[in-house]
Symmetry: C2
Subunit: 336 residues, 2 copies
């Protein structure tokens, strides 16, 4: 099924069930008012949401209304956890190659992951507000999962059973703040501002055929100012599947219902063409494009985003239909 959270002026919004084709929606009020409530008691609540979903898809839901992504908050407008992996090692390799540094050996055996802020997540069409263009504003197109309760010390296979929902994420990054922050050795705080999520979160059965072994084998499309810059396959080249990412997080603590775990920037390897590398799939963040430019030409040519720029991130199913709806954001300036 497909679920979304509609704006209602409150901090958590209203849970709605959305039809498979994203054309109609229905408030889930009688079943659960908020997304977190459904996740807290998934075994009991999800079958009731599924019933409503089937009625809605059959065109028989009595109070259905046209679904409007602009009315959406993030599926979880605030979450108790947002832990973002960097599971496409190709992304790391590119960035490292561009600065002539090797990828540490353990990057291939253990996931990279950072803890993000989750008190103020952005809806799919919310403006992305930043204080300064000079911070190096960049999008990052990712796949993310929402978990149920996953106990400390579980295996990747057990962790995979804890996946409740799939979404897309735009993990906004402030590239020029990253070097100083990482030099301080405590991870990202200022350089990873509020993350945005797709209009709907879907159960894994909505991606049947594409959701295999904890990886989502769909193409994540990124359009920057209307131009397609990325058509990256989220499946095959994911170095660590979501079960591995969640298990990494669970090694020393319980992960509780409603935790969001991200894949990191979706990234695909170059193909060789006439002895030259060609990144035919494009890119899911500008930093990667700049790394490619540096590798090829010695320096980056593409600048980061400017106020007024737009980004659109979407993934289509094998039937050609949008699975999650599109993240469509405009970069704008903080007026203080």
């Amino acid at each position: 099924m497909k679920l979304a959270t509609y704006k209602d002026g409150s901090r958590d919004g209203q849970l709605v069930v959305v039809s498979r084709d994203l054309s109609t929606a229905h408030y889930a009020t009688g079943v659960a008012a908020r997304m977190q409530q459904a996740l807290d008691d998934w075994g009991f609540i999800s079958p009731q949401l599924q019933d409503l979903y089937e009625t809605l898809n059959g065109g028989k839901a009595r109070h259905a209304f046209p679904f409007d992504p602009k009315q959406c908050m993030a599926p979880l407008p605030r979450a108790y956890q947002w832990a973002d992996g960097s599971a496409y090692i190709n992304h790391v390799e590119l960035v490292r190659l561009a600065r002539n540094s090797e990828v540490p050996a353990n990057y291939y055996t253990e996931p990279l992951m950072y803890q993000g802020g989750s008190d103020d997540l952005l809806g799919p069409c919310d403006e992305a507000v930043f204080g300064d263009e000079a911070w190096g504003i960049d999008f990052e197109a990712e796949v993310a999962v929402v978990t149920g309760d996953v106990p400390m010390g579980c295996t990747p296979e057990q962790a995979l059973d804890g996946v409740r929902l799939l979404m897309l994420a735009n993990d906004w990054s402030l590239r020029n703040l990253i070097p100083d922050e990482l030099a301080k050795n405590f991870g990202f705080v200022q350089s990873k501002p509020a993350t945005a999520f797709s209009p709907v979160a879907v159960t894994t059965d909505e991606c049947a055929g594409a959701w295999v072994g904890g990886k989502l084998g769909l193409t994540v499309q990124s359009q920057w100012n209307g131009r397609t810059v990325g058509m990256c396959d989220a499946g095959q080249e994911m170095t660590f599947h979501f079960g591995q990412l969640i298990a990494h997080l669970c090694k020393t603590r319980n992960v509780r219902a409603g935790s969001i775990v991200g894949s990191g920037t979706v990234s695909n390897r170059a193909v060789e063409k006439d002895g030259r590398k060609d990144w035919v799939r494009g890119y899911s963040c500008i930093a990667e494009k700049r790394a490619i430019e540096t590798i090829l030409d010695g320096k980056p040519a593409t600048g980061y985003m400017k106020f007024g720029d737009t980004i659109r991130i979407e993934a289509k199913g094998r039937d050609g239909q949008s699975v999650f709806g599109a993240i469509e954001q405009t970069v704008s300036s903080l007026r203080t």
Copy 2:
């Protein structure tokens, strides 16, 4: 006023108001069922809680009962944000000195801060469960604040107005997992497991005289296996006050109600005695004791915690009374 969250089998527990002397409590059910609910609507709800608090202190609350810290969850059993500073530069200096590395200059001008997990916070008397003693189990006694809504780009002074509640924290750390994790450059995930908090969270007026300029001038006492190892002053030597810590976090994002911001390990400078340094205040984490031993004797002598060890963390007010109640935890082994 003083607030706590009582266990009731649910994920968020029940909000209770606790008397100033921590002897009695009263469910706040008629006002707000959960702590987060009070924080979400603080302007409206806090005066009603204050009324109940005054009635309780006057011995006139009709359904008061004896307060039992063992029934407490963390004041916020799960939170939308837990960002922990490292605001006592003396702690950083000691650790660096022990390994012969300099403190980077910007550590004195910009707070160090890491984003922690907040989906599964521990109550004051909850067992601290770990998979392996070899991970280097360590406590960290800290002061923490709970915020209201604080907007992006605010000043430290504005941020200070956003402080709603004060607590103590035990920021459990797995020292032997830290080097590998920090070498990966993405901050802490596995090496910072679930954090524990004091039985009660208090408004700043409960610390009148001690809460000055965003610092809490009280002594934080740490007892390890019943022996007092730290009597550290949390006030004067805090390099960055809580307004500065929150403003650091707010530079690129909004901070929303119910965010927890920590001070980092409370730490005091040595005094010189006969030409030799003496850390008369003791320590608020074992790593610091080991750093001191390394500076004095070339190597650490104190081991980390073992299964069965206990830690007690408390702060007394200027009247000698416990302000927050005590964190009292036992280290125990994960049985898988």
